[in-house]
Amino acid sequence: MAAVRRWPRKLAVLAAALPGAGSQGRAAAPGPAVLPAPGPTEEPAPEPVPGTAAPATAALYVHWPYCRKRCSYCNFNTYVVRALDEAAVRACLVREAQTLLRLSQVHSVTSVFFGGGTPSLAGPGTVAAVLEAVAGAAHLAAAAEVTLEANPSSASISRLAGFRAAGVNRLSIGVQSLDDSELRMLGREHTAAEARQAVEAARGLFPGRTSMDLLFGLPGQSRDAWAQRLEAALGLCDDHISLYQLTLERGTALAAQVRGGALPEPPQDLLADMYETARNVLVATGFRHYEVSNFARKGALSTHNLSYWRADEYIGVGPGAHGRFVLRGEGGCSREARVQTLEPVTWMREVQSHGHGTRSRVVLNPLEQLEELLTLGLRTDEGITHECWGHFSPQFSLQDVFGEPGEARALQQSGWLVLDSGGLRCTWAGLAVLDSLLPDLLWQLQRALGAARCPPRDKEGQDARAVSGHDGQ
């Protein structure tokens, strides 16, 4: 108990020392610190406010919300529209990217990722326009990773070549399965053969920089069937694979079929076996298991995704995109969680009328920033390095928070976790059960930083206030 009581007093120092505990005293304010979202009259200051010493960098995500058809397992923010005014969407993506880059005063964009939706349905001209806008508003190194998600049904060689010419230098192909009946169950538009062609075409144009997505744990999928898919994928793939366990998201057609009994629910133990098989096979064939669902060889890690897991700053552009960055352009120094307006038509109207369609802004307090770092960082094989932790918590080291007797120590002793000179990370076994470790670690972190200073947010209140900025428009 003594240790727990000691923390809050120390935190005062910590909070003051943290980036983001600024003159506005927001870190000390109890409860949610929600800034008003910009109103129609507000335009960012024309001149950048000189501020932070180190030049700011960020990754940039661009959301293309449109699909030709909705997949049976997808609950993401996607729309199937008959006639699309692509020029208008393009203009809005460009305008919002410019506005947010200006607001963030990011000096250099480290990577760009076009996700969706189905961004390969966008014209290469749209991709080019966005990249030009980025390069115009911040430094975008020639070597910076620029990824585009592509569906095999919209990944002809000519189309892919167009994207390459537009500046894309990495492709992520949504193969999902190499079995036609599985693809039908998933509601995909393509066949296994088309997926193969797409990957081969992509490898030809983006050698060493083509990734493929695969799903496992489909209803009714057997251990053997999965082993076969994996083998087929290994024969086809380049140097990066993302293996996602199918999540039966509420509200999707597939989840309804499983709940209704039309399709069997995959048993927990089978899913664990499939995951274990896959990571063993991939590691044996030279892949590095660098994140829960991601594998790379020859150093072909996705730098964009690593930015999320290292809790770097990232800017989200497009309907429903999420971002985490500091609004230096407004004189801010705290990391904000930002979400753009979900619905494309509304989002466009907002971008057209005041430069961006930010729906909610929530300032993250020091504890919340560390919570996100912990949750994301432990997904990687490198874990949370001392350096990365120190960036968010200069006062209290990983050792201070997790080295004392407590949950983390117990999890280390049970072989799930390691804390050493490299930082805090999961063991091979621990990575598979990370979601069972996190509540313990977050609880320990909350206690260590003193819950009294940062009371839990009022859930409903937070949402209501966050949204209110756009009411009445």
Partner: protein, 610 residues
């Protein structure tokens, strides 16, 4: 009130099975006699509580004095309402002891039901005049003839004595009043005797204190007199007496044979216990027979859903028990559920009604644990006998269950149950009763297709879901009622639940040996469903002493990690994880196993899927 001599007084009750029309008949009687004005709004006038109107039962009896002229004579008819359920059979018997006769109401469509039988015998044993009334003859499916035959066969009352009425439409209700005057004798008592008043009900008023309903078996009572309670021996000065019409209406005096109320500075309802006798100070009388203190037969734990609600719930309980002295309240606490109480009720319906009143009248929602019954143990160990100061103890909490070695006999409470059912369900009902360790005492066809069964049940076998099971296997047609039948010897054991070898105190139960295996298995299965998987395997076992009788294994999580955080959207995910982290605070640790409070609630909570 002195204008009503004993000869022109009739004291009577209406008794009936639930929903057979007791309260509607009372409404009509009140209207005919001009006690209340006749409007469409007179629906269950005597049922004041929301729960009574909703459930169609009377929980808190109300009484009314009716004035009625018959053949030129002014009569004072005291309608003494009775609670409508066997849980309150003691109250019913006390109310009946203030009467000389009853109106027995039977539904012309449903016929005799279990509670009709129980009520009839209460009245019959009290040697009251019985006026059989067949109600609801206006209904399409009414078959009064069949009901008359049932009454004749079962109660030995000539079918010609039955009055066919429709209380709803007022048909023949006047005739009922005339019968009351003709068939029910006036009370046998004398105003010249010393005061002897029976307390047959009491209520609490925040401004005036306890209002006791009384029936005078002798003497008279007036403001200013000094009276004594035979039970508590406490002395009071009478502040007010009066009659109920049905609201309190003060009078100068009450005389022998009359029924009314009294206010005498009593602060708590426990001071005016039902069945108690009041007499004048320095003029003691022989107390009226039959007084018993309320004896709880069903116990359940009550906990606030959120511990911050503890004080609010405490004050609600205090206020509600002001009006219901039959509920016993003992503070209790559980490692899983926090601070709460162990409440004793007269029976299951009493428990439900109490809980419903807490919710409706005090806006409280609570965790109510599955009900248990009070067992007894006859001690053989000299040490324990010395410790307890007696050789027979009552066991309410399984933690107090004495070991077999120091006990010569365990006892369990029993009830005599009456079931009335259409005959096509007999087979299923007999099987159900046998499963519940019941012993058949009687079986009688009350007409060509209706059967009355009597069974001696261990009380614990009917407290949880017996009534629901009976209703569902008979498509709702079987009715059930029961009365206290004392204690019987039973093969009781204490069953522990172990999680990874560690006993879980709040899940220990006292149970009959024959039921332990099935109950142990069920508990283990339910726990397995409610305890979240953890990083190691968990054994959930039921044990009697050192012997394991059931086991479920909750496998360790082998994979538990979300596959993807789409496009940096981790807000929702953080919310979930943080809620889980906060939940750690509410976890009950059993050994190294974390059991969420919800798991206990789901396992311990009474099922309310009615």
């Amino acid at each position: 009130m002195s204008t009503y001599p004993v000869e022109s007084i009739r004291n009577f009750s209406i008794i009936a099975h639930v929903d057979h029309g007791k309260s509607t008949l009372a409404d009509r009687l009140l209207e005919i006699t001009g006690t209340i004005s006749k409007t469409d709004r007179n629906k269950q006038v005597l049922d004041k509580l929301q729960v009574e109107r909703e459930r169609g039962i009377t929980v808190k009896a109300q009484s009314a004095s009716l004035f009625y002229n018959h053949e030129g004579i002014n009569y004072l008819l005291n309608l003494i309402d009775t609670p409508g359920h066997v849980d309150f059979s003691y109250e019913v018997s006390r109310s009946l002891s203030a009467c000389q006769g009853v109106i027995l109401v039977v539904d012309a469509n449903e016929g005799i039901q279990a509670q009709t039988v129980a009520n009839f015998y209460l009245a019959f044993e009290a040697q009251l005049s019985i006026i059989p009334v067949i109600n609801k003859i206006d209904l399409k499916n009414a078959d009064p003839e069949r009901v008359e035959k049932q009454i004749e066969k079962l109660f030995d009352i000539p079918r010609d004595d039955c009055i066919r009425i429709s209380a709803k439409q007022g048909t023949n209700v006047e005739k009922v009043l005339q019968k009351v005057i003709e068939k029910i004798p006036p009370p046998q008592c004398n105003s010249a005797d010393p005061l002897k008043a029976l307390v047959f009900d009491s209520t609490f008023d925040h401004y005036r204190g306890v209002i006791a309903n009384i029936a005078l078996f002798g003497g008279e009572i007036a403001k200013g007199q000094k009276i004594v309670s035979a039970h508590t021996k406490k002395r009071y000065e009478v502040n007010e007496v009066g009659i109920l019409t049905p609201n309190e209406q003060p009078t100068h005096k009450l005389y022998a044979g009359q029924v009314g109320y009294l206010i005498a500075g009593m602060k708590e309802v426990t001071e005016a216990q039902i069945g108690d006798t009041l007499f004048l100070y320095k003029q003691p009388v022989e107390p009226l027979p039959g007084f018993k203190s309320a004896k709880p037969m069903v116990f359940a734990g009550m906990y606030p859903i959120d511990q911050t609600e503890y004080n609010n719930l405490k004050s609600a309980l205090e206020r509600l028990t002001l009006n219901d002295s039959s509920v016993t309240v003992h503070r209790d606490s559980s490692l899983a559920l926090g601070a709460g109480w162990r409440l004793g009720f007269l029976g299951l319906l009493h428990m439900e009604v109490f809980n419903q009143r807490l919710e409706q009248e005090y806006n409280m929602s609570v965790i109510l644990t599955a009900p248990t019954v009070p067992y007894k143990a006859v001690l053989s160990s000299a040490k324990l006998i010395k410790e307890y100061g007696k050789d027979e103890i009552t066991i309410i909490n399984p933690a107090q269950f004495p070991d077999k070695l120091s006990v010569s006999e365990y006892l369990e409470p029993t009830v005599l149950g009456t079931i009335v059912t259409p005959h096509e369900y007999i087979g299923k009902i007999i099987t159900l009763c046998q499963d519940r360790r019941a012993v058949q005492k009687d079986m009688l066809y009350i007409d060509e297709n209706r059967v009355m069964l009597k069974y001696l049940f261990p009380l614990n076998e009917i407290v949880v879901d017996f009534y629901d099971a009976l209703k569902s296997l008979s498509s709702g047609y079987a009715s059930f009622d029961y009365e206290d039948a004392g204690y019987q010897s039973a093969d009781l054991i204490k069953m522990d639940i172990l999680v990874n070898g560690n006993p879980v105190e709040e899940l220990a139960t006292v149970i009959h040996k024959d039921k332990a295996y099935a109950a142990g298995k069920l508990l283990c299965e339910r726990l397995k469903e409610t305890i979240p998987r953890q990083l190691f395997e968990i054994a959930i076992q039921a044990a009697i002493g050192k012997k394991i009788i059931a086991r479920e294994t909750l496998k360790a999580y082998r994979k538990n990690v979300v596959a993807k955080c789409y496009g940096g959207d981790i807000t929702r995910r953080m919310k979930l994880l943080k809620r889980q982290a906060e939940g750690k605070r509410l976890m009950r640790k059993i050994g190294n196993v974390e059991v969420p409070r919800d798991a206990f609630i789901r396992v311990l909570k009474r099922e309310t899927d009615k």
